[in-house]
């Protein structure tokens, strides 16, 4: 029972970065741009958050720095894709590469380390005890005591559909994503909307990185994201671009993340196989979705 509680608790923590990144991915998807750069944006966010927390001696400022850094990188991404009409996928991959190189480089140059940067006394995100909830056995242990980012991510899961489906801007985003010509014909500034959305997805990835580095582990190590950005992208595909199903997929992947260590020790399934599982499942599911789509058409 204790293990069960621990696993659930871990799941929620591990899923949070995925959820934030997936929300960024959902917005990009809705505006018609596949965001391959979630990985790189998250990585920059993770790094800059720790950097900011360290130098400014405040967790909050760290998170803010993380968000800003990711937004800046997203701006560069947007500039090349929208203004200079470079290929969306290729530039996305370049953003990931840039983030990887830049973070490794700065890690070496600033802190003279190749592996991890884990300063003592790094301000961390304090766990929050929710008053009434924490008293409840089991549920309290699972849902209370997370960093504020975890709760923030739940808030966004709730807010995102409202924004997309109930506000004017959300309507414009969806219009641009589905038929930019039609949107243009009624006067919606398509490029500007796309710019904003990409930068916004950067902000979300910044939050994702913040939780990953400062929230979960209180450190940064090179290539920390290790494919989580792509997992978030896959979650977006799973959920077909809709916030709630995508978030659920993130929960599932977070579960795998949380559980794989325990699987090794308890059941003895090799960690590499459990790590491989999410990606494999993603490919299979996407294939099944495509299969169904093709069957429908004929």
């Amino acid at each position: 029972m204790e293990t069960f509680v621990n696993i659930c608790f871990s799941t929620l923590r591990m899923a949070t970065p995925l959820i934030f990144a997936a929300i960024g991915g959902v917005f990009s998807q809705q505006v018609g741009l596949i965001n391959i750069a979630l990985e790189g944006l998250m990585l920059i966010g993770a790094f800059t958050t720790v950097l900011g927390a360290f130098y400014l001696n405040s967790a909050l400022w760290g998170v803010l720095m993380g968000i800003i850094a990711a937004m800046l990188l997203a701006l560069i991404f947007a500039f090349f894709v929208i203004r200079l009409r470079a290929n969306l996928i290729v530039v996305g991959l370049a953003v990931n590469l840039l983030a990887l190189g830049l973070t490794k480089y700065l890690l070496q140059v600033l802190f003279a380390t190749r592996g991890a940067f884990a300063p003592k006394n790094l301000p961390n995100l304090p766990p929050i005890d929710i008053p009434v909830l924490s008293a409840i056995p089991i549920l309290g242990d699972i849902f209370s005591g997370h960093s504020f980012l975890v709760y923030l991510s739940w808030l966004f899961i709730f807010l995102t559909p409202i924004f997309l489906y109930r506000t004017v801007n959300g309507l414009h985003i969806r219009a641009v994503g589905e038929n930019p010509n039609a949107a243009e014909s009624v006067g919606i500034p398509v490029k500007r909307v796309q710019y904003w959305v990409l930068v916004l997805s950067g902000a979300f990835c910044g939050l994702a990185g913040a939780q990953l580095s400062l929230g979960n582990l209180q450190l940064f190590y090179q290539n920390m994201t290790n494919g989580r950005g792509f997992m978030a992208l896959a979650a977006v595909y799973f959920g077909q671009g809709r916030p709630l199903p995508s978030a659920l997929a993130c929960l599932l992947f977070g579960f795998f993340d949380a559980v794989q260590i325990r699987l090794q020790t308890t059941i003895g399934i090799p960690p590499q196989l459990t790590q491989m599982l999410p990606y494999l499942i993603i490919v299979i599911t996407l294939a099944l979705i495509s299969l169904r789509y093709v069957r429908q058409r004929s």
Partner: protein, 351 residues
Amino acid sequence: MRSMTYVWWREILRVILTLATAFLIGAMIMWLSGKNVLMAYKILFLAAFGSSSAIADTLLAATPLIFTGLATAVAFRAGVFNVGVEGSLYLGAFAGAWVGFTLKALPGPLIIALALLAASLVGGFWALIPGYLKARLRMDEIVTTIMLNYVAIYFTSYLVNYPFSVPGLANAMSPVIASSAIMPRLMPPSQLNFSFILALLAVITVAIFFNRTSLGYALRIYGANPLFARWSGIPSSEVILKAMMISGALGGLAGAGQVLGVNYRFIANFSPGYGFDGITIALLGANSPWGVLFGALLFGALRSGGSTLELMMDVPLELIRILEATIIFFVTAQFTLKWINRRRMKALPTS
């Protein structure tokens, strides 16, 4: 009739501008980090080309990149975004290693030949999975190939951690290949080996393939204009599948080259992203085999020179990665197009 030279000129200009910009940005970063930029670039250049051993190391670093660059270029030329070369590389590497440490009884050259064959088959079939999904199910190959990369990396890691692990070793690696299967060295003491020659042969083969074979022709035409290819009767499914098979095979050879020539065994996570570098190189080389060779040599120089730079001036190797990313950004951007268009507009008589 517009001149033919106009097109060439534009491509070369683009490459030069891109490289210049990248080096400029690299210079800025180094300057900001307090390094002596001029000295850094001088060391970089010397470390890459300054002596015969430097050149050997450059060619060594370029070897896997030539293969992955070619692998990506073949797919790109057919209009398929194969981002999964890394996966083919890993599986091919393992397949090659397996032959190397299992069929020890056979004569050396035969082991090498079989290892290369196994690597290309395994790498090729691996790439057929996303290829089939694209050809039959119209499934987007980008997300698929990226996901499958992780599957391949983790799976091979599993293989050397469990079934094929060597008891007593801390690191995850396979048994050593037969000593007779080690690729002969070309310029000792450098590790530059016969794989490099194979890589050059691959360049020539791909060039011949593109320009002189009927499949190569079909692939190019399909990549240039898929609608036209259909109207001319060129079977698109076949083209996609074969392109992916070749692409995967080349990726597999990249892995086998590293196993047989450098590591002599399969080491988990051994690739610092050769597959992804292949993408940059293919783009830089405009998907042509000779362009890929140029790009691979350039990056090989950057890599090998970069590690010396790191040693001597404490400039992290990651700077190279930053340069690479910058190159990708600028290579696919459409500046030159806008600039030239604006000039053309002015030249037209006003209507």
